[in-house]
């Protein structure tokens, strides 16, 4: 601060103290007023009161969230949001987010829930809370129904296609037996083509890629053989909302029980919900 300004600041000091103390008193009163209802009525109650559930969803990550030909959002996450809104008996407002801004949206109170195919990690866990898992997200080895492979050692003598440099490439390279042949393709399209044309016995890829293959309804359908790496999706909400957490977890548990979630999984991922999700 330049000296001249500093001097002015000191001169006005005496006068400003009174102004400051007044402001502080107003602020304290305001905080007390606004904090009181928040402490008593939690997020769940304010959602019910407003009659609207605001959910952050992806718009560029099919099959979890994308824009359909009718220009409306669609996908696994959108159906999950609809399910929760219906169960809470409130309207649904979908807020499109990117993977970079979905947590800030939650932290600044712009949304009540993040249903955006989000995985759990310690960094995220430190700033927001997570529900139980609601969607499967994993890498695994997929092959035709008749292929008898239950774990990595069964790949002995088999040829497996994989996208070079992907997580599943790195992991499978470690666990595959020596006499299994890994064929590494440039991108997912190469891996998919190799599987569909029968150039490889099986492929290692994500369940989302497998879902994309199934969606095309090819003559050869990839079925899950074994898991390489599992990182299911969780719903995120602001910290310290036990009532909301309980309500959401109850809805997820019921949806798993009554088959509603299985239906969503069948529609968007082309597969039944894996046991133990």
């Amino acid at each position: 601060m330049p000296d001249r300004l500093k001097l002015n600041y000191y001169r006005q000091g005496q006068q400003m103290i009174t102004k400051r103390s007044f402001l502080a008193a107003v602020l304290a009163a305001a905080t007390a007023l606004s904090a009181a209802p928040m402490a008593m009525a939690d997020a769940l109650e304010s959602i019910k009161e407003a009659g609207i559930l605001r959910v952050a969803v992806p718009q560029d990550f099919p099959p979890f969230g994308s824009v359909g030909t009718d220009m409306k959002p669609q996908g696994y996450d959108i159906d999950m949001a609809r399910l929760i809104a219906t169960k809470l008996n409130v309207d649904l407002a979908l807020v499109p987010v990117t993977s970079a801004n979905r947590i800030p949206f939650l932290q600044t109170g712009k949304v009540d829930l993040v249903i955006s195919s989000m995985g759990k990690n310690p960094e995220r866990d430190a700033v927001i809370d997570f529900s139980d898992a609601y969607a499967p997200f994993y890498n695994g080895v997929f092959g035709p129904e008749e292929l008898e492979v239950a774990d990595a050692s069964d790949l002995s003598g088999k040829t497996v296609g994989v996208t070079r440099g992907s997580i599943e490439d790195l992991e499978l390279t470690k666990i595959a037996p020596d006499d299994a042949t890994l064929k590494r393709y440039e991108d997912n399209n190469g891996t998919i083509s190799a599987f569909l044309s029968g150039q490889v016995d099986a492929i290692a890829t994500g369940n989302v890629v497998a879902a994309a293959i199934i969606a095309q309804n090819p003559p050869k359908l990839p079925a899950m053989k074994f898991l390489i790496k599992n990182s299911p999706c969780y719903i995120g909400f602001a910290e310290g909302e036990p009532a909301l957490a309980e309500a959401v977890n109850k809805i997820i548990a019921e949806a798993k029980e009554d088959g509603a979630l299985d239906e969503i999984s069948q529609q968007w991922l082309g597969m039944a919900l894996p046991a133990g999700l």
């Binding site: 296609g161 590494r184 393709y185 440039e186 044309s197 150039q199």
Partner: protein
């Protein structure tokens, strides 16, 4: 430039590069020999062969010369299995290279054959040589000699073009570079090494082909 070169990973990955070089060499040796044989046959068929053989040969040459090599490769590897014709990736790559070099070299060799003076055929006939003998000694060898440098260049081009076979998971030199790059994230160094090896391979291959030319045509210059 502030980039710090780091070649320490080569200590781990050099066997991948060695295998890659061997695969590239194997592809171009087999593909080169078979491709030149196919090209010679097509050149004969198109310029001197029976009339009924010309349309299919012209169709083949034009089809291959007017489509991308990568598409030809994908067609053979990913497309043909749908018709019940499945090749391994190395077979598919070799076949694609043979077909590709066959078409290009056919045109180069044909140019050499068609530049043969008419008197040379007549000279062959007057020596009571059979048509096969005439073609072999009087037409083909001088023709090849004329276009040998162009043919050598085409073989080098096909060798360099073979880099795309890594797309169907053939473990060639490009595959080695991509593989090392995806594991070490040392892209600059990985492609630096592969560039240097390709350059050396191309120079060696050209030298070897020109030397071979000298051995096959010991009377260089006599035909001119």
């Amino acid at each position: 430039m502030t980039y710090q070169f780091d070649f320490a990973w080569l200590a781990t990955y050099w066997p991948v590069f060695l295998d890659g070089v061997l695969m590239t060499v194997r592809l171009i040796v087999i593909g080169g020999i078979a491709g030149l044989l196919l090209g010679t046959f097509c050149a004969w068929a198109r310029s001197l062969g029976p009339v009924w053989l010309r349309p299919p040969v012209i169709a083949y040459v034009e089809l291959i010369r007017n489509t991308p090599f990568l598409i030809q490769l994908f067609f053979i590897f990913f497309g043909l299995p749908a018709a019940g014709f499945r090749l391994t990736e190395v077979e598919a790559a070799t076949l694609a290279m043979v077909i590709n070099l066959g078409a290009y070299s056919a045109e180069i060799i044909r140019a050499g054959i068609e530049a043969t003076p008419k008197g040379q055929f007549e000279a062959g006939a007057s020596l009571a040589l059979s048509p096969v003998q005439t073609f072999r000694h009087v037409v083909l060898v001088p023709a090849l000699q004329r276009i040998w440098p162009a043919l050598a260049s085409q073989v080098v081009i096909v060798m360099l073009g073979s880099a795309v076979v890594s797309q169907i998971a053939v473990e060639d030199l490009t595959y080695a570079a991509n593989f090392a790059q995806s594991r070490t994230f040392r892209a600059f160094e990985a492609y630096f090494v592969s560039t240097a090896i390709y350059l050396a391979l191309a120079i060696l291959l050209r030298f070897a082909l020109l030397q071979a030319g000298r051995m096959i045509f010991p009377h260089a210059g006599a035909a001119r």
